[in-house]
């Protein structure tokens, strides 16, 4: 059986449209829709799918390669898990969530630059509505302003490219750009800036703090993890498969990414609140991801994006529940929390250690390969900077995790736990899903070769991919 990938977009849409007529079973629509989507994804085959029967440069195509397929799978699974976990929160937002799902799928699948813009807008508005469910409207408005500026820049760049190359199709655009890359830099920069707003690159990411520092278990994983990951996948698609970027522009944008990496880690180090730490570290990670994308490490950036997405998902989800129970996310007040909630603690710890790149978790091998490949082609400076930022990241990440495990002095003396297990009312599903995800991180940490191979396979044919030499457990080059 084979499914057309357009169903991953059309199904949620149709459910969203019909849902407004049946308000009572809204939740069922959401859960059913997202689960159906996961099912559909399993039956999608790679290939090119035309819309309306018009051939590529003229009609819109959905470009399904391994890259899109794996991203789609991870995204839909995470999304479905989230809808199951937080149906209560999403009650008033079922249609918006379904449309968000459709838009994110569309973003990943589409092979047309203007179609991408349309999905970008849908996704942005859906995200803003989801973000506004935290009742902090001026923050959501900030997000809205930023994303409108972003999409304006994107469209401006896009239309400049159209003027120069006369097409909107990604594949044809790439061919034409290869033939005559001159003159396209401004357009590429504008598009980069437009997307950078969404992927939280630093000077453009002013909105992130407002939206995520008050994120609950619904907004956090959604905006912080799923959206960030999907947008980054789009970024990877555009800047490795489509655009031919001149070395000078690459350098300029890389500097921006590096500034993000360093600044984000420093800001996270400075922070004392759980969700702020997570959001700043997310900003820093996106800097690293973009650095890899720009310099052509398509496979490495891909696996980094996916693993970060999963880790952030777990951590934001759990921090949401913790804040619900404790009413605060200041780390000093949450001491010893995991003592009474060991399963949440395990999942959180595994995700955090993976994010910090410690062995036994998949993050380590990803970081190792990044450093190794950068060292193979560049000077020692870039890996050195990445290692220093990793050091900072490791310290604050462990400070947070240890702080949550270790009871404070007053607790040790009085023996009274502020937050007991009964305070954190979580469904078993939360335990199950976060534990499965963190176990996945351990399993892939022990057997990274499979993940690395998949990433290689997905991005090995990426146009601008530098052939990465992967070191897995099986051994790397020179063994």
């Amino acid at each position: 059986m084979q499914m057309n990938p357009v169903l991953t977009i059309a199904l949620p849409l149709i459910l969203a449209f019909t849902k407004i007529m049946y308000r009572r079973i809204a939740n069922l629509f959401l859960v059913l829709g997202s689960l159906l989507n996961v099912l559909v994804v399993f039956f999608i085959k790679e290939g090119q799918y035309l819309m309306g029967g018009y051939a590529p440069p003229f009609g819109i195509v959905l470009q399904v390669d391994a890259y899109a397929l794996y991203s789609l799978l991870v995204l839909n699974v995470l999304f479905a898990a989230l809808t199951i976990l937080v149906t209560k929160k999403a009650e008033n937002l079922t249609s918006s969530s379904l449309i968000a799902l459709a838009a994110l799928n569309g973003l990943i699948l589409t092979g047309d630059l203007f179609n991408l813009f349309v999905f970008l807008e849908i996704a942005a508005i859906a995200a803003i509505i989801i973000a506004s469910s935290s009742k902090r409207y001026h923050h959501a408005f900030h997000y809205m302003v930023a994303s409108i500026i972003g999409s304006t820049f994107y469209l401006l760049g896009l239309i400049l490219l159209y003027k120069q190359y006369g097409t909107l199709n990604m594949a044809k655009m790439h061919e034409l750009m290869l033939a005559s890359p001159g003159g396209s830099s401004v357009a590429v920069i504008l598009i980069f800036v437009g997307l950078a707003v969404e992927v939280k690159l630093m000077p453009f990411s002013g909105w992130v703090k407002g939206v995520l520092k008050n994120a609950d278990e619904w907004i956090g994983p959604m905006i912080g993890a799923i959206y960030g990951g999907a947008m980054m996948i789009v970024m990877g698609r555009l800047f490795t498969d489509v655009f031919v970027v001149s070395p000078k522009v690459t350098l300029l944008l890389s500097i921006l990414a590096l500034v993000t990496l360093v600044g984000g880690e420093a800001a996270a180090y400075d922070s004392e609140k759980m969700r702020e730490i997570l959001l700043y570290s997310g900003v820093a990670q996106s800097g690293l991801e973009i650095l890899l994308i720009l310099n052509g490490y398509a496979a490495l950036s891909f696996i980094l994006i996916l693993s970060n997405m999963m880790a952030k998902y777990v951590m934001f989800l759990l921090s949401g529940y913790i804040v619900n129970a404790a009413g605060t996310d200041v780390l000093g007040d949450l001491k010893g929390l995991f003592r009474s909630n060991p399963f949440l603690g395990f999942a959180f710890t595994a995700a955090g250690l993976s994010l910090a790149g410690l062995p036994l978790f998949v993050g380590f091998f990803i970081k190792l390969n990044i450093l190794y490949n950068l060292m193979m082609s560049h000077s020692y400076w870039l890996p050195a900077i990445i290692l220093i930022t990793s050091l900072v990241e490791g310290i604050y990440m462990l400070r947070m995790i240890l702080g949550l495990w270790q009871t404070g002095l007053e607790v040790q003396e009085t023996g009274i736990q502020i937050i007991s297990p009964s305070n954190i009312k979580t469904k078993y599903a939360v335990h199950a899903i976060t534990l499965i995800l963190s176990l996945a991180m351990v399993v892939f940490g022990l057997m990274p070769d499979y993940a690395l191979d998949l990433a290689q396979k997905a991005r090995g044919n990426a146009v601008a991919d530098k052939p990465a030499m992967m070191i897995g457990m099986k051994g790397g080059p020179g063994q």
Binding site: V6, I20, M51, A55, A102, G166
Partner: protein
């Protein structure tokens, strides 16, 4: 001072973009019109060259709409339009969500005069018919589903101004909105399972310039018109309400 500085910055930005991307006296970075993809839309030659297309004569084209822009919007790049509809839909959802769902209608401060009250009802019908005309002739003349829908919403606005309250009608609008949207997607899926491609034009395209031409396009424009009309009306309605709970 600060404002002048920022104005200066904007000027630099405009100059930068203009200089390095737009201004192109030797046509080096501008693709000539004849070589752009859009040329195929004009000559309806995406899937094979039909020769010269003549108004009122050519038949069996891949797209039979006289209005090329409409042909692009609803046929060649219909998928974009589905997205567009979705944007409006989610905007109306957003407005509904932010307005806290169904509240009670804000009473207009002034009492509408006799003229406004009855004039509105009279004009309402005319505007409505004009809107319908717009989306029915979308494939022939400038216009189409979106302007048509907007005009329908304008007729509803006139009604509001005339002192009419929406009340129960909203439910009907919701159903219209949902049904139109679902039918649009369904028409795409019908294309997928009966012709092989999502949103494929499954109906015969007829003669260019005739009312019953361009295959599925008028149908889709009707759906879009209804959906947009009901959505915009809904948005208007939400702005006229205030939260009850608070």
């Amino acid at each position: 001072m600060k404002r002048i500085l920022i104005l200066g910055l904007m000027a630099i930005l405009v100059m930068g973009i203009y200089n390095y991307a737009v201004y192109d006296p030797y046509q080096k970075t501008t693709m000539p019109f004849e070589e752009r993809d859009s040329q195929a839309y004009l000559s309806r030659s995406v899937n094979g060259d039909p020769g010269e297309v003549v108004y009122g004569k050519s038949t069996n084209l891949e797209n039979g709409a006289a209005n090329t822009v409409a042909a692009i919007v609803v046929d060649y790049r219909s998928f974009d339009t589905l997205g567009e509809v979705t944007v409006l839909f989610i905007s109306s959802l957003g407005v509904a969500f932010l307005s806290g769902g169904f509240g009670k209608t804000i009473r207009l401060k002034h009492k509408p005069s006799f003229l406004l009250q009855y004039g509105a009802r009279f004009v309402f019908g005319i505007i409505l018919v004009f809107g319908a005309y717009m989306f029915l002739h979308g494939h022939l003349t400038p216009g189409g589903g979106f302007p048509g829908g907007a005009i329908i919403a304008a007729s509803a606005l006139v009604l509001y101004l005339g002192g009419e309250s929406s009340g129960e009608k909203m439910k009907a609008f919701k159903i219209l909105e949902g049904a139109a949207g679902s039918l649009y997607v369904l028409s795409g899926i019908v294309g997928l399972y009966f012709a092989g491609f999502f949103m494929q034009n499954v109906l015969p395209s007829g003669i260019v310039g005739h009312l019953f031409s361009a295959g599925i396009m008028p149908v889709i424009y009707i759906l879009i018109g209804l959906k947009v009309g009901s959505e915009l009306t809904g948005i208007l309605d939400y702005f006229m309400r205030e939260e009850v709970s608070s």
